[in-house]
Symmetry: C2
Subunit: 551 residues, 2 copies
């Protein structure tokens, strides 16, 4: 079979697995760009389905524990909504209702929930492995069959290669009572900030289908924005949780290295240990993020994945003991990083070595990426994708592999550079103690996620607002704020630019094209301060809610 | 100047810095192999000097805080003993009495100690940088002058290159009231388990000068055994704290990666981030180890070194909450790792993948080591040392660079191998739950540090008892047990061997050669369990004390 045939066969198999009664027959026309409200308007979802899928994670868990809603009901509702969503934005689902039934029976019989995530459907970025009944080795070892199909990093060559066992995170989520229920789309190689591959095609932005969903966790971003999943898990090596979260208007959290177990997942650039990819949650509510993070740590993941740091959830950190107990916090706003943001942007952090950090992380990825991509595409003959543009003939952005690779000794020199950049940034942060008036350095930084909102497909080329955080390893929470309003967010005339890149970015913006694109910020803390970042994000989120209510 | 002239000039400068009244005039003859008691017998140390230098760390800190002994007195006593020690085992010292005086005045004036290590002299492995008054850039920025000279990883090319600032650990130790007072010898390249270099020569074993002190922290091991320092800091990338601790009969602790700040130190293989070198303490008492570890963490080193994990000292972990509160602990003894130990060895841990782990860590070091060593020796013309033997013509051991280097992509493949080995070992440990009867997996492993005690110079070629722990990143505490007694530790006849290496190791042993060599064990815990390993080591140490008292 050619790679095109393999991809077509896989796509067809995927579509056949969807129950026909869950498909909507009155899809919006291709001209309709904003489809965010379509699930409510479709003929598929009942009033109860809508009530369930519009609930917060806390609301869902509470009603599940009280047996007001069964796990089967909740999972079914999210399936229906996810499948409607899939028809619009190319998300790919299967089901796990048998597991939901088991959970319902357990609660009925014992009166006890299985764990902190009892009955909660959870969507997973496609690289997070689940042992499936479709496995070519023919064994079924999970408690109940699941119909997940495995797409593996967006490579055609991985179609048909079913995981032999669950990833550690899936084991932990199931032990907590969660129901992994869909896997979501990714770009080929995973190393793109948009989402397109040769198997399932493109994931678009539900607020404006002419715009990108971001990537590489673009399937998660779009699905959660459409409320087809209450909680999802993505991965982030340069912005891959934060960019789709921001572009799709949902909450998304990049924890520090080695906190959430990654063992057993499929990945691109495997063995690239210099800048680690991390798993993290996406959700429509901050409580979903906190619930996920705290629940996973409660299962002592360091006893299942040797890379995970032995470190429990800290109520002290969550109560901001290192931040004046949360009183008189001082946030720094990073307006831009030396390449200004198109409107609407956000509200003085002095950026430091931004270009150097972006360059170093790019060089680390490139150390072996070309050979990695070549080895992954060679078995099927699939070409390596050179652009996320609609025509796929745009120039490749700077972060694509630009060299055939370097030696291990040369990579060690990059590690020294990385270490020195991290040391300088720590000092940069510590030195703010002279400006805050609190006796502490700045508590957190508030920053854009990109120098623009979601843009047209293939336009996302500047990773410098997210990538530096992967290099210094700071946790970051994306918080949705608003949406582009062409009447309000007019193009500001500018005469001076930081750089050619900055000018090109400015010229790209026009209010009509970006209509309805979500606007978001990220709240950035210091390495290992996950709990404090969650707490400070709650404070920022509440302040935004109050401010918006007064508009 | 030739590299020989540079080295000779440096050594002469070093000797000139020692006050003549602290030199002993009645050195033992070259035939005297066991010199461990010489400091007591020399004409240099007073009764008070002896009382001070024979005290535990807890005893020293208590008498310093009570002003029974001044910091100047304590530091002077240790200097005198260290300098006597240096004459025997080639340790290299300087002084910091002015700092001791400042501490004494602070205590007298305020009635308060400066910190948890008030007045305690601390020895440092030579790679731990201290800003010195001899600096070629001519500035003195430490509070008081210190006369430390910098030898930097045992390379001639680094003589005369003085550190521009203190390493983070030195800053922290000084903020705790400690007095860094000597720097100690290392092998060229640091990547040897013995201690010899072209500048200062060889550090021998004080219990038997025909035997090695171990390495690469051999200067620390020998100095502390001679009680020329109450507490020292070494580094460990493959056994470099544990081997000299074991061979010299002192306590030594290898913590997990990124707990003790390494920033600002000189190093070999810089940028080799796959298997991280760690700093850790050596002492004559376990309380010294615990005091150091807890005190350093109390200063939040993650705010000074970006690589340090944000993780406080845990009393819960120290109280063994994950180990049945310390009741009914189950230890596993690893008798050997598939290459049996010459007597005396220790008193059933099943080794797992031992050879594969040793091979993988060796391949990671070799990825860029040849180029690293070449670049470090080229400026002076000094040759790379090929053997630690007295004649330097022995065959190089297996862990010396055996290749010109590999590509970054090839290194990534080694990282996958390393990850898989760590995952397998975690399962191997977890699976012991079926054998312990405690409901928990084994609490700790007790193991040899090498398949022999300290041997003749140049004989230390098997790193497989220590290197695997650097790969899986488990904390390990070395505990001294006994010494070789030729009457007791006779050679056991053996007919069958695991391997040629095993047979060679067996043949090397004879009781007379190894007379008086210290015998030690290591107590091994799981990643991140530093506090629990300290607590379990206290239990083992006490059990050994009781057992010995009944002999």
């Amino acid at each position: 079979m050619t790679w095109q045939q393999i991809a077509a066969e896989k796509k067809s198999r995927q579509l056949d697995s969807v129950p026909k009664e869950w498909l909507s027959s009155d899809l919006p026309s291709a001209e309709a760009l904003n489809v965010i409200d379509f699930p409510q308007e479709s003929n598929v979802l009942s009033a109860l389905d809508l009530e369930i899928t519009e609930s917060s994670v806390a609301g869902l868990l509470s009603n599940l524990a009280l047996s007001k809603w069964s796990a089967v009901q909740v999972t079914t509702s999210f399936y229906k909504r996810a499948i409607v969503a899939q028809q619009l934005v190319k998300i790919f689902v299967d089901r796990a209702l048998a597991r939901a039934k088991t959970l319902d029976e357990h609660l009925k019989t014992t009166g006890q929930v299985v764990g902190a995530l009892h009955g909660l459907p959870i969507s997973l970025k496609d690289q997070i492995s689940i042992k499936g009944i479709e496995s070519t080795i023919g064994t079924i070892a999970t408690i109940v069959p699941m119909f997940f199909s495995k797409m593996c990093s967006g490579y055609v060559s991985l179609v048909g290669q079913f995981a032999e066992k669950d990833s550690v995170l899936v084991d932990i989520l199931e032990s907590l009572g969660a129901i992994p229920f869909v896997k979501t789309n990714v770009p080929q190689t995973l190393m793109w900030p948009e989402t397109f591959n040769h198997v399932f095609g493109r994931t678009t932005n539900p607020y404006n289908r002419s715009l990108t969903s971001g990537g590489s966790s673009g399937g998660e971003g779009a699905l959660i924005a459409l409320k087809g999943s209450p909680l999802g898990v993505g991965s982030d090596i340069g912005g891959s949780i934060r960019i789709p979260s921001a572009f799709c208007g949902v909450y998304g959290f990049r924890p520090s290295y080695n906190r959430i177990p990654y063992a057993g997942c499929v990945n691109s650039l495997e063995g690239e240990d210099s800048v680690l990819s991390v798993l993290g949650p996406l959700s429509n509510t901050l409580d979903g993020i906190k619930t996920f993070y705290k629940a996973v740590l409660s299962k002592e993941p360091w006893l299942k994945d040797p890379m995970v740091i032995r470190k429990r959830w800290s109520d002290e950190d969550y109560n901001l003991i290192d931040h004046g107990n949360g009183k008189k916090l001082c946030f720094a706003i990073m307006w831009d990083n030396g390449g200004s943001c198109t409107p609407p942007s956000l509200i003085d952090w002095v950026p430091h070595n931004s270009a150097e950090m972006t360059k170093t992380i790019g060089a680390i990825w490139n150390a072996g990426a070309a050979e990695d991509f070549e080895k992954a595409t060679a078995p099927s003959g699939e070409p390596v994708i050179a652009s996320m543009g609609l025509l796929q003939e745009d120039e490749a952005p700077l972060f694509r592999p630009s060299s055939a690779g370097i030696s291990a000794f040369e990579l060690w020199q990059l590690h020294k550079k990385k270490r020195d950049l991290r040391q300088e940034y720590l000092k940069h942060w510590e030195d703010t103690v002279s400006q805050t008036g609190t006796g502490r350095p700045v508590d957190a930084i508030i920053s854009p996620i990109a120098p623009h909102t979601a843009g047209p497909h293939g336009s996302m080329k500047i990773g410098s607002y997210t990538m530096w955080l992967n290099l210094v390893d700071y946790p970051s929470m994306v918080i949705p704020v608003s949406q582009v309003d062409p009447a309000l967010d007019v193009k500001q005339p500018r005469e001076e630019f930081y750089s050619t890149e900055d000018q090109e970015n400015h010229e790209l913006y026009n209010p009509a094209t970006y209509e309805n694109a979500p606007i978001s910020i990220q709240v950035i803390g210091r390495g290992g301060e996950e709990e404090a970042v969650i707490a400070m994000s709650e404070i920022v989120d509440e302040a935004l809610r109050v401010a918006k209510s007064k508009l």
